[in-house]
Amino acid sequence: MSQMTVWLVAVRDQRDRAAFGALFDYFAPRLKGFIMRSGTSAAQAEEIVQDVMLTVWRKAAMFDPHRAQASAWIYQIARNRQIDIIRKENRPIPDELAQDPGSEPDASQILAFDQEAEQLKTALEMLQPDQKEMIQKAYMGDLTHQEISLQTGLPLGTVKSRIRLGLNRLRKELKGLR
């Protein structure tokens, strides 16, 4: 399991402050950089970072390492908060999946999922610079403008097959949860 996911599970299960501090040290500067790339001032970006990390602490119980790495889960919180705050609208978000109360963590499944995600990252790193930049732009474009066309179709190329593999796994996980 990735180190960040281990920290987040410790926050979730033990309310571990040292682990939370480690998550902060890793993610806060990246979140700040990420949020500023989307057209937000440094001061407001820090407010959002604080808001996001506080949400991570408070909603850690919702984190499921079978379905997400820490970075994906935190990414999604950041995007929600950023849209709520910058656009002053409540971003519509899907219902949470009901957690299966009887389900024990399955280390092999978590590991397999984690490997998929790592392969996705490797695929992302190996893209041509211009392809990678297109994806970064799609994710880090200026969120302050609402008039963004739907032409954000990502040039997924090699990434796509990786996503598909990841999808299969996610899909099986989700079907198992139903």
């Binding site: 970075s71 889960w73 990252k121 799609a138 963004i148 739907l150 990502l154 996503i163």
Partner: protein, 211 residues
């Protein structure tokens, strides 16, 4: 529930995950994902990609006091936040737009009703109620229209749409959806432009009915 056969296309899901999808469409995506495990998997894969980009982002040092301020806040009780769970046929994101209340239907004639959830220059999103056997009058689209079925089903020239299915209409689609027999068809419909109704309402009346 019959299987969902009409899904959110990949590019739209990517735009939702990236946060660039306009609000009306984002609501349809969030509602569909609430009903569709396949599209939830797609969305979570795009979140994984977002997380990977976040990890690879060049970091920018945060102010000195930020961490200690935050650590001091951890014991504070979380402020109460309204939580809108799914209710009946309406998924959570629709209940949130309804602020937990039942839809306030306004009649459009011929038994067709609507309840507007949000309307801005960028587009609108509404609930539509279409009695069984009733046609939603022939219309074509100025822009993009997403229609998610929440109850019953409808059929048009392109196929049959049941609960959870999304129909994507663009400028090229001229269609006549008809609610199938059985329960009235209730849909969540989002557009980024006013609809053009060909026969149902004179165009002059459209601003009145906000269609």
């Amino acid at each position: 529930m019959s299987a969902i056969t009409h899904h959110i296309p990949d590019d739209m899901m990517a735009a939702y995950a990236a946060g660039t999808l306009p609000h009306p469409f984002a609501m349809v995506v969030a509602a569909h994902v609430s009903l569709c495990a396949d599209c939830r998997a797609t969305l979570e894969a795009y979140h994984t990609l977002g997380g990977a980009l976040l990890e690879q982002t060049e970091d920018i040092e945060v102010s000195k006091g930020l961490k200690s301020n935050l650590m001091a806040l951890l014991d504070e009780p979380a402020p109460p936040e309204p939580v809108f769970d799914a209710k009946g046929i309406y998924p959570g994101p629709v209940m949130a737009a309804l602020k937990g209340r039942s839809p306030r239907w306004k009649t459009l004639g011929m038994g067709v009703k609507q309840s507007i959830l949000s309307e801005t220059e960028g587009g609108s999103v509404r609930l539509l109620y279409i009695p069984a056997g009733q046609a939603v009058p022939d219309h074509s689209h100025n822009g993009l229209e997403l229609t998610l079925v929440l109850q019953g089903s409808f059929s048009d020239e392109t196929g049959r749409f049941g609960v959870g299915d999304v129909e994507i209409g663009d400028e090229d689609l001229e269609h006549t959806p008809i609610a199938d027999a059985g329960d009235a068809c209730i849909c969540l419909a989002a557009t980024d432009a006013p609809l053009r109704f060909n026969a149902f309402l004179p165009r002059l009346l459209q601003p009145l009915f906000r269609i």
